[in-house]
């Protein structure tokens, strides 16, 4: 059975590493969740911008409540999800992991630094990250 990708609002592009991780034939979905958008307070402008990005992606778009929809629509498939710092999404992912096979996939990083790097002030971080930040990755150019 092929996998399913939940492409959320932090990862709206078709070459996110999540696609490779999920493999050929995976169905990518976006969930238009009014309750989420309203909780975030998004204006029409923001929704239009997201809608226009979606129009450039060849994915399944569904309108409904995120967690409930992911539960039912996955229908036993493995789930692949772009990594996100969003606490609401992380909570949903934690809940899904109790019943489903879920893999989160990080995006291509800008800098490679130790996980415990000092984050108390930006310029301390910059001093540690500068060398990596100024080293182009081997990723594709647009």
């Amino acid at each position: 059975m092929s996998a399913m990708i939940w492409l959320h609002e932090d990862a709206l592009r078709s070459d996110h590493p999540v696609f490779k991780a999920a493999g050929e034939g995976a169905e990518a979905i976006f969930i238009w969740d009014d309750a989420y958008f309203q909780r975030e307070g998004y204006s029409l402008k923001r929704l239009v911008f997201i809608y226009e990005l979606l129009a450039d992606l060849n994915i399944t778009c569904l309108q409904g409540e995120t967690e409930q929809l992911l539960e039912s629509y996955a229908d036993g498939r493995s789930l692949f999800i772009p990594q996100t710092p969003n606490p609401l999404f992380k909570n949903i992912i934690d809940n899904l992991q109790k019943k489903h096979n879920v893999t989160t996939v990080p995006d291509i990083p800008l800098v490679i630094v130790p996980d415990d790097v000092d984050l108390r002030r930006f310029f301390r971080f910059w001093n540690k990250a500068k060398k990596s930040a100024l080293s182009p990755s081997t990723g594709p150019l647009l």
């Binding site: 990862a11 929704l47 409904g64 710092p85 800008l110 930040a133 990755s137």
Partner: protein, 268 residues
């Protein structure tokens, strides 16, 4: 008969943003406002990338009319990676001349790491205010005149108007607005941050809220504030910086600090 907890829809590419707005209104009738002239169009994004000039950006980025990119809404929603933009910038300008630009990209990476490490920082004061006031001294709601872009301070009203109509303002204008709302109007930074997240197309809780905390002084050593001379220095002719239309923000930094932060202890 089982009930599906969802409906499907097919986003349609439109030629005008108002056509997209009509489609979105059909999905989400509750959504307020108008569409932005900045469109979620990947081809437009690629045009901007083609014209990317890191050196010109570094020289003019603090100026409200400077060579900033407006790529941030695409980066916010993952349509474009920081990695892509960095690679392009270094390819085009070389490491030395691209450094300032890459440093700005790294700010976003930094905010995201902070967010991942401690999601509570996003809405809670990271540190105490250093303004001489306590959190209770700050209001829980935005004044009506701010929401209506009718504060009576001309440049602030122009920035508010641009924010609410286009969903994008220059970073320097964001700092001016945040400082005005926090320090002149003494509104809790969380209220202002939420207001920005409603409107900014690139509104991201980490970058936005921690920048507000930096202005408020709950994530910095001192509050950020500005004066009319500073706005005039970094604005073009399109921003009204005449004294008579901006009296509330006019004055020396010393005089404004005394007025805005009368109980602030001098730093030792």
């Amino acid at each position: 008969m089982t009930h599906n907890p969802y409906t499907t829809f097919t986003p349609v590419k439109t030629t005008k943003s108002y056509e997209s707005a009509v489609a979105v209104k059909a999905l989400s009738p509750w959504a307020d406002g108008e569409a932005s002239p900045i469109r979620g169009d990947i081809h437009q994004m690629q045009d901007v990338l083609s014209a990317l000039d890191p050196l010109s950006y570094s020289r003019t980025r603090n100026h409200l009319g400077g060579a900033v990119t407006q790529l941030s809404p695409f980066i916010r929603h993952g349509a474009l990676t920081l990695d892509h933009v960095r690679n392009l910038a270094i390819e085009r300008a070389g490491k030395k001349d691209a450094e300032k630009f890459v440093q700005q990209l790294t700010w976003r990476d930094y905010w995201q790491r902070l967010y991942r490490r401690n999601p509570d920082m996003i809405w809670d004061d990271v540190e105490a205010y250093k303004t001489g006031f306590s959190p209770n001294d700050y209001a829980d709601e935005l004044p009506e005149d701010v929401l209506n872009a009718q504060t009576g301070t001309a440049c602030i009203d122009q920035f508010l108007e641009q924010l609410m109509s286009t969903g994008w303002i220059h970073n320097h204008a964001r700092l001016y607005l945040a400082a005005y709302i926090c320090h002149w109007r003494r509104v809790k930074w969380q209220v202002g941050a939420k207001f920005f997240l409603t409107h900014l197309l690139d509104g991201d809780p980490a970058s936005n809220n921690l920048s507000w905390q930096w202005v408020a002084s709950t994530f910095s050593h001192k509050p950020y504030f500005f004066n009319l001379d500073n706005v005039a220095k970094y604005s073009g002719a399109d921003i009204n910086t005449k004294f008579n239309a901006n009296k509330d923000i006019a004055g020396s930094y010393e005089a404004l600090a005394e007025r805005l932060f009368p109980y602030m202890e001098p730093r030792r």
